[in-house]
């Protein structure tokens, strides 16, 4: 356990020293959401109608931005090789790196999302479902992204490949995240959708470490 936390602490320290990642993700998130009123027009009714979808799709894309570096930097400077030879299983290390990635990029997304929803006139009834959905959904984005990041290691134009691999897998998160908000606004309650998101999170946390670790071992051979 202490080795696990040591790895999380090291990744957080690297993220803070290098800066950039969290700021870039948030800036992308804000800028892209702000583009929509310019594109579709500023009518509050229209924006209110599409607010949930815009916030979720943009959050998805913002999370994708930082994924390429998840293992790439460690791979290039030889750290990944040394990490793979530590007593701590690679599967646990994948989980630690996902946790650190989520703390650096997912958590800021959760904090900024309600402010952006405000900008888009999201119905006030939808906020609890938005925040709850993001809390459950953003860790899934980091986890699924880890598989893509591990598989695209060493590939040329890995970033594009990563997007193609990961975006289709993000669709369930998007569906249930948006559905939770719409159901809450319509008065049905967000509980079923949030429970499905929770189930996805459990599934991803259980399966992703094995898939990503296998891909990393292949990349290191």
């Amino acid at each position: 356990m202490s080795a696990f936390l040591t790895l999380v602490a090291r990744d957080l320290r690297l993220a803070f020293r290098q800066g950039g990642d969290a700021a870039m993700v948030i800036a992308f998130f804000v800028l892209t959401v702000v583009l929509f009123p310019f594109g579709v027009g500023p009518e509050p009714e229209l924006l209110q109608r599409i607010a949930a979808g815009i916030v979720w799709v943009t959050a998805l894309l913002a999370a994708l931005l930082s994924l390429e570096r998840l293992f790439q930097a460690d791979y290039e400077d030889g750290n990944l090789e040394a990490l793979a030879l530590l007593p701590l299983p690679l599967e646990a290390q994948v989980l630690a790196k996902c946790l650190a990635h989520w703390l650096v990029t997912g958590l800021p997304l959760i904090i900024v999302a309600p402010l952006l929803a405000l900008l888009l006139h999201l119905d006030p009834a939808g906020y609890p479902a938005l925040i709850a959905g993001m809390v459950l959904g953003t860790p899934i984005l980091s986890l699924i992204g880890a598989i893509g990041a591990a598989l695209s290691l060493g590939a040329r134009r890995g970033g594009v490949l990563l997007s193609l691999l990961v975006l289709p897998l993000y669709i369930p998160v998007l569906i249930f995240g948006v559905a939770a908000i719409e159901a809450e606004i319509a008065g049905f309650g967000a509980r079923p959708d949030l429970l499905l998101l929770a189930a996805l999170l459990v599934l991803a946390a259980g399966l992703v470490p094995f898939a990503a670790a296998a891909a990393l071992r292949l990349a290191l051979e």
Partner: protein
């Protein structure tokens, strides 16, 4: 492959406790790098890998570490295949490859402390730093270190956390004579305590009682390359 059928020659008959390889073959991509390689590494032993570029010194080290799967042959610690329990094998080895595994934004002290802590050592890293002449550079971010200092820092991992088997891929690269002497002293001390060392080198290196393994002897014949 003919070597796979032959029994180990008497000199390779091992005793319990040895780290042994028998009839090892390694393939990198399409190319067979070496085949029919045997070695025995008893506690306190040292193996020096020599051979021209591309003869498979690094490949053999990576094979021993469990990073690269072997094409054929057996690799056993105390008679037990290292694949039986990879976690146990990782716990007993240090692998220092070509890259120094440092982060430009972490200080030398932080880097070493991280690797030591990941191996469950809570002891101070100061002795390891001073041992390799890095006492004054502990607070310096790794991006300001010279190639030799980075190499010293990577090697300091060996003494910061104990492990029985040291796998060193050309450890003398970019080291000055003082650091090379410090490394040789560390290796001698490690072996005196029953530790084992495998290292590849192009430099003439003198380790007392070390076995020299010339990788060129295990190069596949042209016929085997086509097979």
């Amino acid at each position: 492959m003919p070597s796979a059928q032959t029994l180990p020659s008497p000199q390779f008959l091992s005793t319990p406790g040895d780290f042994t390889g028998h009839a090892l073959a390694c393939r990198r991509g399409e190319r067979l790098v070496f085949r029919g390689l045997d070695f025995v590494l008893p506690p306190g032993g040292a193996l020096v890998l020599i051979g021209p570029n591309g003869s498979g010194k690094s490949s053999l080290l990576r094979l021993m570490a469990g990073l690269t799967p072997r094409e054929m042959g057996a690799l056993a610690w105390n008679g037990i295949d290292i694949r039986e329990d990879p976690a146990v094998h990782r716990t007993r080895l240090h692998f220092i490859g070509h890259s120094d595994a440092l982060k430009p934004v972490l200080s030398a002290g932080e880097s070493l402390a991280f690797w030591a802590k990941m191996r469950g050592t809570s002891a101070s890293i100061e002795p390891a730093l001073t041992r390799f002449g890095l006492g004054t550079t502990a607070a310096l971010p790794c991006r300001y270190l010279s190639a030799g200092q980075r190499r010293r820092l990577a090697l300091a991992r060996l003494v910061a956390a104990p492990a029985e088997l040291w796998l060193l891929d050309e450890p003398l690269t970019s080291l000055d004579s003082e650091a090379a002497a410090q490394l040789l002293a560390a290796i001698a001390e490690h072996r005196a305590q029953g530790g084992r060392v495998v290292l590849s080198t192009h430099a003439p290196i003198e380790l007392g009682g070390a076995t020299r393994l010339s990788l060129a002897d295990f190069r596949p014949t042209p016929a085997e390359l086509l097979a």
